[in-house]
Point group: none
């Protein structure tokens, strides 16, 4: 039942009785992500989640008190995980171009940009209007990433002496662009792939900052 395919918690988790509190929580959150991706926020049940995690029905309430809180913690986990990825990308050696490339690579990496995770992001975004706690968690991470991108674009503009009239506008486009491409990957997986998306981003950067970015080999499919 190959669960827990991506993190380091794995080995410990399987010994039923031992796993520490934090481990169990992580295990359940991961099962939740998988289930939300597969069944959608509106139809997952506690039974789905605990079965996916290979644990008993009562365990969620033991560790999270309620389904609701589990979902909030799941979103928080995803936000933090994404935040760390952003942080790591921004810590890349080199100038703003290198950092921006790293950010792009991360945003469309197999880990971050898998359809499973995209589905979960959109699921939470879809509920964010009716659930203020979702909204504030989503807004936070979004705004943080946006701010960093704005700085990078300004540095790039100065760095390359492009003298663009409004580098901030390019930055804003960039930010929205990423999310829009995610949507395309999610709902039109036959039309849009991670590779195509990266090429679009790359082409966009090359058109603005030609001395920093090369055109992608081919934009065509």
């Amino acid at each position: 039942m190959g669960r827990n395919t991506e993190k380091d918690t794995e080995s410990l988790v399987n010994s039923k009785r031992s796993a520490s509190k934090e481990m169990r929580r992580a295990q359940l959150i991961k099962a939740t992500i998988k289930c939300v991706a597969q069944k959608g926020l509106s139809s997952i049940t506690m039974a789905d989640i605990t079965k996916e995690a290979g644990l008993s029905l009562g365990i969620v309430n033991l560790h999270f008190q309620s389904k609701d809180k589990l979902l909030v913690e799941t979103l928080r986990y995803m936000s933090e995980e994404y935040g760390e990825s952003v942080h790591r990308a921004l810590a890349t050696e080199g100038g703003p171009a290198a950092k921006l490339t790293a950010l792009m690579e991360m945003d469309f990496s197999a880990k971050v940009c898998q359809r499973n995770k995209l589905a979960v992001w959109f699921a939470f975004w879809g509920e964010s209007k009716s659930r203020p706690i979702y909204q504030s968690l989503c807004a936070k991470i979004d705004e943080d990433a946006n701010a960093s991108v704005h700085t990078l674009f300004q540095q790039l503009d100065k760095d390359g002496d492009y003298q663009h009239i409004d580098p901030d506008n390019f930055a804003s486009v960039w930010n929205a662009l990423t999310e829009g491409l995610w949507l395309d990957i999610l709902i039109s997986p036959n039309e849009m792939t991670r590779e195509k998306a990266k090429a679009i981003c790359q082409g966009y950067l090359a058109s603005i900052f030609p001395r920093h970015f090369e055109r992608p080999r081919k934009t065509k499919n």
Copy 2:
């Protein structure tokens, strides 16, 4: 209990007994949209919807057979409504620049881009991975609009003799941009407004097609 604030079905709808089949369906779909926006796809109930519509509990099953079908019809309704808006924008008198402007105005108009509707779009997108029917409805409308935009960008490039290396890339960015801005409006309404979003789009177009589009007055808040 002023519901249904925006369409032309209104007057007929309120005379409880007379409303024709089609009217009832529209009335219920509108109530559904409102409820999904307010409560989220995962927690709306038939009782919520029928109460919002001012009708009896049993009526949904009478007109739509099941909740599930009502939701699908709701998405279909929204897709058609959006498709018609696109169609109308593309029918604008004038060249590709005028059409593109019309498209943009439409995408960020009060009617299309209200947070209620955005919430519903994202709600369906969030479920689209697990519900193939949602996905195909969403993909269809998205791809149609995208195709038109690609054509417009190509015409614009030729029209203004810009000789851009890859106008398709700009078109792809444009398409994703719109959706990304919708997300920002949905989850960070304090940071992103319809006006700001339009300015970002306008700035983007001006930077690519300067002979067709003016810079917006100000991008700053």
Copy 3:
């Protein structure tokens, strides 16, 4: 499954679809009383109650919102029913002696003093410390009845010119006496019966107000 053995709601209740809201509530409350008597407050389930009532599982939440509220309403029903019995007894034609006799007859009548109902009273009393709403409902009815008894004792004292030093003390004893005898009937049904209890009360009255009350034939078992 002989339910509803004591009231007038019976005939209507059995036609599944027709029963009015108020009827359904009464039907469920009666089933609750029966179940509490048989299983105890701490182990009745909604399934017990609805099965006893011959109705479906969901119906309690439909009519009472929650189990908790059903129990409160049950106590309220019993309080009101008892209150009415008291009221009826006090309306008996004749002087204070006749009224007091009526009260006593009522308190130890088959209807009021059946072990089923006593069990329910004690069940609620037993929870009253931890459930303020129970306490206030119980206190209310108790205090009302007590007040009436005090008045009767004062009238009797004056009426018969007994010149007791403290008729109020006799009244207080009387009030507590009734409840204490109920306990004996409940927990020692072999030792204490309704008939014996009445004889004790009668003997007590005869010893205080000999010109108004006769001694019971025999106090012995």
Copy 4:
């Protein structure tokens, strides 16, 4: 977390590891009494009880096998404790009047007649119809006490040469009176206090056996 405020087990109990089997049982029973009073029989959980006792969740099953048995042992403990109090009162030096006074003082003493304990008595009485084991435990103690009271009343009658027609009747009243007053203290603590209750009992005795008992100073509040 000052628990167990009233007995002599205390000092030993707090040294977690040392406590002997008997001590642990007493500690758990006291925690149970406190919890039943505070939360009611129908909603106490093992977690409540063990937390109150400052012990681990698993310990009840270790010492009592099951929750059910713990409750039975709790009732048994209370019955024995009360039985001993009765016994001690009856052992008072002096004649029947002194013994009866001692009994009354005990029944309305701070220790026996605290609302916490009354709540527990009523809780068990409330379940006694549906739980034969509770009933037999309750009946036993009740009948024992009653028998002693009957003897005392007979002795008093003879002793004072009152020549009452039916001293047994007075004894029966007395027994029920005590329990009825407990109920009043439980559910109408603002109306009935231990002091008032004693005054009522005292007044009752004075009216029957004026040469043995004085009237209380004042019956009024």
